[in-house]
């Protein structure tokens, strides 16, 4: 028996699809690229404009107000270490990317999550898509980002948004669906419109879950903007990348430690925010 099953040219189909998109929508992608870059610059310059000690003080104050003295002390020590290691500017760049990627991800995720909560059909369509997005190796997103947005931070944000958005969508949907049916019935029984029901009952009640989703998105963003250094996103990731290329484990470890400190601060901060909402 000798017959050959021809190889399915899946890869080349995807490439031609992407080519089509890049050429046909180059106007759109360029516009997105420009606005995002402007946003990055604005936030980055703003944070850089502040002297290190002032920003450090602000963050410590924020930690103290939202969480307590323990997180405040931790933040002071951690940030002081980063400053001391000379990683302050890369940290600010990373922070900027995380903030912008999270913002974009949440702005897209909220309406999608709400839609998936109210429409069973949309729910059935989007859930496998989210599974796909989350299980596809994160590096893969870096490749199409380049033809769309070129090498640099905007590509990094694009890949990060795709990678970090699913939990925000999932948690929004989950939060709304978890609202007890009796409460939804109560809202209906008094004659609420769909929007009133959503704004006055479903969204406020799903807020703790929703914050959990945002927390996840921030964490994933942070891990992804580091990886995005491979396509030219600057920040702590590029410090690690450089250390790899020059085989300097010490430098790599220092930058990695800075990422860990950032992750812990961001996580505790958003969680304390979540806890406050619930306590109320």
């Amino acid at each position: 028996m000798n017959f050959e099953i021809p190889r399915i040219p899946l890869g080349s189909w995807i490439e031609s699809g992407l080519n089509f998109l890049t050429t046909e929508f180059s106007g759109v992608t360029r516009a997105i690229s420009r606005t995002t870059q402007a946003g990055i610059n604005l936030l980055n310059d703003g944070l850089m404009w502040l002297p290190e000690w002032a920003l450090l003080g602000l963050i410590v104050l924020l930690c103290w107000r939202l969480s307590g003295h323990r997180l405040a002390i931790g933040a002071a020590l951690g940030l002081a270490l980063i400053w001391n290691l000379g990683l302050w500017n890369p940290m600010i760049q990373t922070l900027t990317l995380v903030v912008i990627a999270t913002l974009v991800a949440v702005v897209i995720a909220l309406p999608l999550g709400i839609l998936a909560a109210v429409s069973d059909r949309f729910y059935r369509v989007i859930m496998p898509v989210l599974d796909f997005m989350q299980t596809m190796p994160a590096f893969v997103y870096l490749i199409p980002a380049i033809p769309f947005f070129g090498i640099g931070s905007v590509s990094g944000i694009f890949a990060t948004v795709i990678f970090a958005m699913p939990p925000a969508i999932r948690f929004t949907t989950l939060g709304i669906r978890q609202v007890p049916t009796e409460l939804v019935e109560a809202a209906d029984a008094f004659g609420s419109t769909r929007t009133q029901k959503l704004v006055k009952v479903q969204l406020p009640l799903s807020l703790p879950t929703l914050m959990g989703g945002i927390n996840q998105t921030i964490m994933l963003s942070l891990s992804m903007v580091v990886i995005a250094a491979m396509i030219g996103a600057n920040g702590l990731g590029s410090e690690v990348w450089r250390a790899i290329q020059r085989l300097r484990p010490g430098d790599g470890f220092e930058a990695g430690l800075a990422v860990v400190i950032m992750a812990m601060l961001l996580d505790r901060l958003t969680q304390s925010f979540r806890g406050r909402k619930r306590a109320k």
């Binding site: 007890p180 809202a187 029984a189 004659g191 609420s192």
Partner: protein, 400 residues
């Protein structure tokens, strides 16, 4: 007595099938198949079948049935939280199942407020904001809704708790908030879905009593769902008994108890504490003899001897009850040569209205030996209840 009252809601031929091929299920129903046969053949559940009843203006109507009898489905069909499959629900000339989405919204706002079994309070809103919810979504100005909410909270006795959150309140108080939320809305019908079932028995009794008083005060048309017959008998002006999605009997509590429509109802009512429900009117006997205020002691004594009584009730010309005279004192007065009984009249006698429950009556016998007088609102003597009659009533009702 209720027939003369105006119907607020008319429910006609209401049916509900849970499933996708509702027509088939209704066809089988019309061929005479019962609920479980329909489920077996089509996989569809016949939730409600051909329900017919009226709700009268201002009455407290109880819909009572065991779990699975369709009572929750029925109450939810009224405001279309569940879509009825066929039938009419007419309120103030509008047929609810045929309303457009927009008209339904207006109908819910105007006519229905609902109180839920597990309270269904909004945990992120204060007590005041919960009470204001119905008004808020209707776009009522802030001052007006604050005033109405405050009024409603006052009605249910929750003044001073306005700024608390629901989770800071006990179960009974939470359900008061639920009630206030419904009352503030000022809708024409109050729907109460097992509203007291989640409360512990003592608080439940209190709430029932308060509901009766509130309902009496406000004359609000109320539909109350319960699985508890005692509760139904205690608060209902009329009761609708539901079984397997069909109406078994409609009647006053007394009618349900004393003439059950079939074995099912009779079995149902067996466990009930009848003494609370059967009233003085039923156990009452005509008075064998009464004294008139003009009578002298000798006349009164003779009347007592003839009817073999120890004491006798004294009435005036309008049959108004004045008091009781006992044989010993009449005898003394007669020997002393008095010719009037006026100063012999004792006004400390047991006296009840015709709607008093037998359990009350029973406890009154321990105090005195004379029979209990039953009087109407103008204090006219209707009859008397003797101990034996109470026991007899309890006994015969038990056999029914």
């Amino acid at each position: 007595m209720t027939n003369a009252q105006q119907a607020k809601i008319q429910v006609r031929n209401l049916s509900k099938v849970f499933g996708s091929d509702t027509k088939k299920a209704l066809q089988l129903r019309d061929q005479g198949l019962n609920r479980s046969q329909i489920l077996e053949q089509t996989g569809q559940t016949l939730g409600l079948s051909n329900i017919d009843f009226d709700v009268h203006e201002g009455e407290l109507l109880v819909i009572m049935g065991l779990s699975g009898s369709g009572k929750s489905t029925l109450i939810r069909c009224l405001n279309r939280l569940i879509e009825p499959t066929e039938g009419d629900i007419i309120i103030d000339g509008e047929n609810i199942p045929q309303l457009s989405e927009k008209a339904l919204l207006q109908c819910r706002r105007k006519h229905f407020s609902m109180v839920f079994q597990n309270f269904a309070l909004f945990p992120h809103r204060t007590v005041r904001m919960n009470a204001e919810y119905g008004l808020e979504i209707r776009g009522i100005p802030k001052e007006e809704r604050a005033k109405k909410a405050a009024d409603a909270l006052k009605q249910v006795g929750l003044e001073g708790w306005e700024d608390s959150y629901p989770n800071q309140l006990s179960g009974g108080m939470q359900q008061r908030v639920g009630l206030a939320r419904a009352l503030a809305n000022d809708s024409s019908v109050l729907l109460m879905d097992e509203a007291f079932s989640a409360l512990d028995p003592l608080i439940r009794r209190d709430m029932q009593q308060e509901l009766i008083e509130l309902q009496h005060r406000m004359q609000k048309t109320t539909i109350f769902i319960t699985h508890d017959l005692d509760e139904a008998l205690n608060i209902g002006d009329r009761i609708i008994l539901l079984r397997d999605g069909e109406v078994v009997q409609i009647g006053t509590p007394e009618e349900i108890l004393t003439s059950p429509a079939d074995d099912y109802v009779a079995r149902f009512t067996q466990g009930v504490d009848r003494s609370r429900v059967v009233t003085a009117r039923r156990a009452m006997r005509p008075v064998r003899a009464t004294a008139r205020i003009e009578d002298g002691p000798r006349t009164v004594l003779r009347k007592m001897v003839e009817s073999s009584l120890d004491s006798i009730y004294v009435i005036d010309r309008e049959r108004k009850l004045l008091g009781v005279v006992d044989a010993e004192r009449a005898d003394e007065a007669a020997k002393a040569g008095s010719d009037s009984i006026r100063e012999l009249i004792d006004d400390d006698y047991p006296c009840v209205g015709p709607d008093e429950s037998l359990s009350r009556l029973y406890s009154m016998f321990t105090k005195r030996h004379c029979p209990i007088a039953v009087v109407d609102e103008e204090q006219r003597l209707l009859g008397v209840v003797v101990k034996g009659a109470v026991l007899e009533q309890l006994a015969t009702a038990g056999e029914a």
